[in-house]
Structures are given as structure tokens and as C-alpha cells.
């Protein structure tokens, strides 16, 4: 990754919808060069394309929960992950090393729905314990070390 690649990323970070032609004009290079470099960065896994950032509070979600899950020794992780994938509104499952085996993140509309999610997880065979932390507020400090490469927002509702 050279200076031109970084300049392309910087422009796309500011405006992911900017066309290759606009980028080319700003950097004084051809749009074909921009396209080639973008594809190469994707190929090397430096970037995973673009996505949209959602504010789920606008459609009724009231909170986010961290679920810390301990499983039994004879648990089969791939099967468990597949089962967790079916639990509604569980949007991220992370295999972890530490005092728990899995961390799952869920969004919920009300207390009733988070209780339902926890109960569904507890019902999965080999789940020994589920502990929960409900998020009151999410803050993403705009640290230079990260914001040079990733577009975190200062604050979101979920």
C-alpha cells in the first residue's frame, strides 16, 4: 500500500459514495488507475467494500446487550454457533479466550425481548452460564491511531 492507495482510502473514508472518476480528478490520476487500485486493495483484504451505518433506535430497538456465555467441556463449537445464529436479533457472535467461551451481541426492543433472547441461549445444549451487560450508552472515541484507518463515529444510539 503506497501513498496513492492511502489517499484513495482517505477520500473514500470521507465519502464512500465518491465515484472513481471524482477520486481520479482530485488525485490527478486516471479513473482506471483508481479502479485497479481499489480492486487490488479489496483482493488483499485491506478493505471489505462499503456498507451502511444504521441507527436501529429509529425502528424501535431500545438497547444493546453483551451476553457472556460459558459452555461445557464437551461442547461442539461449530454446531453451537449455527444454533446461536438462529436466535433473533443476535447480530455478532465472537469466540473468545478468557473466563467465558463466547461473547454475543444482541439488540432488543424491550426487557421482554432480551429475556427471551437470554432464555433461548440458555436452552442451547452445552450452555452452562449466561451473564449479561446491558448497554446504556455507546461511545467511540475518535482516536487518531484508529481513525486514520477506520471510520468510527463519536457516538451512536445503539
Amino acid at each position: 500500500m503506497d501513498k496513492i492507495d492511502k489517499k484513495i482510502l482517505k477520500l473514500l473514508k470521507e465519502n464512500p459514495k465518491m465515484s472513481f472518476l471524482e477520486i481520479a480528478k482530485k488525485l490527478g490520476i486516471s479513473s482506471i488507475t483508481v479502479q485497479k487500485r481499489y480492486k487490488e486493495m479489496e483482493k488483499k483484504d485491506a478493505i471489505f467494500g462499503t456498507t451502511v451505518m444504521l441507527d436501529l433506535s429509529k425502528i424501535g430497538f431500545k438497547g444493546k446487550a453483551f451476553l457472556f456465555i460459558k459452555t461445557s467441556k464437551n461442547s461442539k463449537m461449530p454446531e453451537m454457533i449455527e444454533t446461536f445464529r438462529q436466535v433473533p436479533n443476535l447480530f455478532l457472535i465472537v469466540e473468545i479466550v478468557g473466563s467465558f467461551d463466547l461473547l454475543a451481541l444482541a439488540v432488543f426492543r424491550d426487557i421482554k425481548s432480551i429475556i427471551k433472547i437470554v432464555n433461548e441461549i440458555k436452552a442451547v445444549p452445552c450452555v452452562e452460564k449466561v451473564e449479561i451487560a446491558l448497554s446504556k450508552e455507546s461511545i467511540y472515541p475518535l482516536r487518531k491511531e484508529y481513525t486514520e484507518i477506520i471510520p468510527f463515529e463519536e457516538k451512536t444510539n445503539l
Partner: protein, 112 residues
Amino acid sequence: MKKSGLIVKNVLKFNMAFYDYNIGLTIGVNLQPYQEDNITQFIKRKVKVAGIDKTIGKYDLCLVVFAKNINELNELKYQLRKQKGVKDIEVLIWSKNHFNFDNIHFLKNNGD
């Protein structure tokens, strides 16, 4: 959807590992009473974290951190632990992520 505020903005997705941030982790922090705002401010200013969630339950704060190596992770851990008002911390290192964003039910179902 943009007008309603549901879509906040378009973002470019970066691969942290490509930029040498090889270790992703969640740090659970338990605090002395009434220390949440002080410690949050301290973390925002002084500690290299990507996300802070003020939480109720197992931990008082859940931090999302990316570190380049174990030394950086250790430094971060001690920086947090020595801070007045921090009771204890737990480090949970990510070994594999499974994204499941398609599973968010945008329309309200029974009990969701």
C-alpha cells in the same frame, strides 16, 4: 430511510488485521461506586480504545480494543488497572468473529 434517520451514512469497511491490529478484545471493567463518568473520561482521553459501552450488569464498562501485539495489550491492561476508581478488569480475547447482521429482525415479530 436516510430522511427518517435509520440510515446514518455509508461507511467503508476496513480490515483491522491488514493494518497490523491483529488482536481484537473486549475488556470488562468493574468500577468503584460513582466512578463511571470519571473513568469514561479518562479512557476517552488516555487509553487507546475503539469503543466504550457504559453497561449495567456483569460489568460497568465494556471496552472494544484492537492491539498490535501482546506487549501493547499488556500495557493497556496495566494502564487501566492502576487507575483510581477501577476495581477490576477482565480481558476477553477474540479468537473468531461470526457476523450475523442478517439476523436483525427489522419488522417487529411476536416477542422479538
